[in-house]
Amino acid sequence: MDFLVVQFLTGLAGASSLFLVASGLSIIFGVTRIVNFAHGAFYMLGAYAAYSLTERWEGALGFWGGIVAAAIGVAAVGALVEVTLLRRIYRAPELFQLLATFGVTLVVQDLSIILWGPEDLVGRRAPGFRSSISILGQQVPSYDLFLIALGPLVLGLIWLLFHRTRFGVLVRAATQDRDMVAALGVNQRWLFTGVFALGVFLAALGGALQLPRDAVSHTMDLRIIVEVFVVVVIGGLGSVAGAYVAALIVAELNAFGILVLPQVSLVLVFAVMAIVLVVRPYGLFGRPEGPPRTGTAGLIRPWRPFSGGERIAVAVGLVAAAALPLVGGSYLLSVGAEIAIFCLFAASLQLLMSAGGIASFGHAAYFGLGSYGAALAAKTLGWPLPAALAAGAALGTAGAALFGWFCVRLSGVYFAMLTLAFAQIAWSIAFQWTSVTGGDNGILGIWPPPWAGSPAAFYWIALALAAGGIAALRVIAFSPFGYALRAVRDSALKAEAVGISRRAVQWTAFVVAGGFAALAGALFAYLKGSVFPDNLAIPLSVDGLVMVLLGGVETVTGAVVGAVLFRALTIVLMSYTDYSKLVLGLLVVVLVVAFPKGVVGSLQGLRPPWRRAAAPPVAVPAR
């Protein structure tokens, strides 16, 4: 009994740590709708900055002053990022900010290694909180008690800020209706900058406060970013109290879960999120989201199939690509096959994001299921290449059918996060089910048979399947079904009123996209010769998003260009420098600013990107 009480207190301390970071994300997310992928990076910067300051400044004042100064300093950096980068792209298609903050994250990762060195840093213990206190016969670190008190305190301060200050009232108004606040003559820009800086401050503070209990390392950001997103979504977007409750639930379930099932931490937060979202589609304290941001849909010029000339150009391009084995060596061909595979993967995600208007944060799940399906068919059943590829595609399709059935009940960011949760669950199964999947040691020896084994032969197979798949995805985008999908995206209300079932249409799209992603994954298994849980991990899902956004989310198949660009850049940079993330991140930031609708999307637009040509007048909601 005593033990359980102390375990509960330990969970509370963990909840506070998580909440500090999550609250900042929730505020940024709730107000600006920016999916701030860089939140983890600011958390990490906070920890590094606090380390440097507290090592330099002595005494208790030096320590606490260092913590606060670090948070303020990083908040200033955050404000700078908002003013110089994010502000330029508020009018960009939804989720485009994700791309920008992704670039920032890459840059920060390498910069922190350059500035603070590669080794883990262990900071000072907090003055006054070095010891532990005996509670019910168990030792509890006094710093834990400090954190336990700090969580609710920060929650209270945020509440006061939002309910007792003009700034807070405006922010809350902006959370509910951004156009309204703009109409009231409030300078929305500075409001957003303020909110962003506040969120970054909380992230950096959260990072700095880990100094006495954690090691400061350059992997801190990725360790926390997904988890805080999950916490925010479980709590409900824009609900800071919800974030606290969610952090509490996650931390306590973990603290007690490991007593029963020591492996549970691997998947716990995602399982909790999946259950919460299936039961409560808007999180614990969230309210139904308004319709997605208006304006973007109106900016899209109606899609057209390729004209005669364009078809010839594409055909010539394909022939040129098919002629690569005449000039390229085996390395070039393997890179070519890899890029072709990623083109297909990105194009499949694009069907969901562009035609469907639903962004999957877990698209790698289906890619990975395709890999595993093919690998298992080849290794355990001994199936030949074509059958194994089909098995991979089938497994991915089945997975998409299952997960998609739940996901399409949700919309917007909640949809995205549920796809992420399912992807992580799939990942943890691949990771943990060692007897079948080989765990993280993977499945080895998935090589193509001799007839497909030469670099040229496999390149042609990959190119043919990728080109065929992308062509099929284009056909689908222009088919009656594709129109139904776009109709649902443009106006779910209207689509329903002309007899279209949103769920059925989106579910079908999800399954189709999953199937093509799985085909790409199956090819990938044969290209690499081995399959690992990495094939369905979050970084690959993020890569998919980046490729689509880079190509242009408002285009039909711009993702193909995004994929070529991103994958080729990654491969080249990794080959030539250890700081590939730094260079890639900077390039992404530059591309974001230069092509605010994606590369293809921006090149297509002859008009200035943000001129809303005779957009429908802003209508006042009925009730």
Binding site: A297, G298, L299, I300, R301, P302, W303, P305, V475, I476, F478, S479, P480, F481, G482, Y483, A484, R486, A487, R489, D490, S491, L493, K494, A495, E496, A497, V498, G499, I500, S501, V505, T508, V512, A613, A614, A615, P616, P617, A619, V620, P621, A622, R623
Partner: protein
């Protein structure tokens, strides 16, 4: 005589204890134009949304062509031959004008499940005929996103007609339009209704529109039907006059 096109019996709905619609009953025949008016917050939109299944009713029945629509979603109601336009225009902004109508036509043909074949080449004639009907044939290729508001309203009408409906539900069809356009649009609607024997139920704030085109008028106040009948009779009804007194709508605009 077969069942009336639309028969509403004792329809009620409350939101958290507030009775938005109480015990509303009426019928609508084919080819008839029926207006539903009332001050703001009278329950018109709620009533409307219950008719096409968007809002679930608490009690009462809605029969369309004699069939009870209990539990049917909007798209099932649509399949019964009901067209609907929205107070705030809802169109498919990423498509051209003609494609908007084509989606409706393809849905009517049950062809939207097809994964192959260029949709832009299908149901083209049907869509163009409907656009011609609403006077939008010249705008067929224009992106929907750049239409003026009045044209959007016409487009919505064309889409609402894409399933050859017997019943058309129009929620404030002329809201937000210039006065001259309102008259044009409603004349068009009335002509189509008479020609195709479509029953139309519409809500409206503009009393000009109501009294010029409606065959019958119903007045809703605080969720209750307080008057029903020919336009002239309703206009003279003292209860109606009292209801609208504060708004001044009936005298100033109705008398114009």
């Amino acid at each position: 005589m077969s069942a009336p096109l639309l028969q509403v019996e004792h329809l009620s709905k409350s939101y958290g204890g507030v009775q938005a619609v109480r015990d509303v009953s009426f019928t609508l025949r084919a080819g008839e134009i029926l207006a539903l008016i009332g001050p703001n917050g009278a329950g018109k939109s709620t009533c409307f949304n219950m008719l096409n299944g968007q809002v679930r009713r608490d009690s009462g029945r809605v029969l369309i062509g004699g069939r009870d629509t209990a539990g049917l979603s909007p798209r099932r109601v649509w399949a019964l031959g009901v067209g609907r336009t929205f107070q705030i225009t809802a169109t498919f902004a990423s498509m051209s004008v003609r494609e908007n109508v084509q989606v409706g036509c393809l849905s009517h043909q049950g062809a939207l499940g097809r994964l192959a074949g260029y949709a832009g080449a299908r149901a083209r004639e049907e869509a163009e005929a409907l656009l011609a009907l609403v006077g939008m044939e010249d705008a067929a290729e224009r992106p929907c996103g750049e239409l003026a508001y009045g044209d959007l309203k016409r487009l919505e009408l064309a889409v609402a007609l894409s399933n050859a409906p017997g019943l058309l539900l129009m929620d404030e069809p002329t809201a937000g339009m210039a006065p001259a356009d309102r008259v044009d649009l409603m004349r068009l609607v009335a002509a189509i209704a008479r020609e195709r024997r479509i029953g139309i139920l519409f809500t409206e704030h503009d009393m000009d529109v109501v009294f010029e085109h409606a065959d019958r008028v119903m007045v809703l106040d605080r969720g209750r039907l307080i008057a029903e009948g020919a336009p002239e009779a309703v206009r003279r009804d003292p209860l109606v006059q009292r209801t609208y007194l504060g708004e001044g709508l009936l005298y100033e605009k109705g008398a114009a």
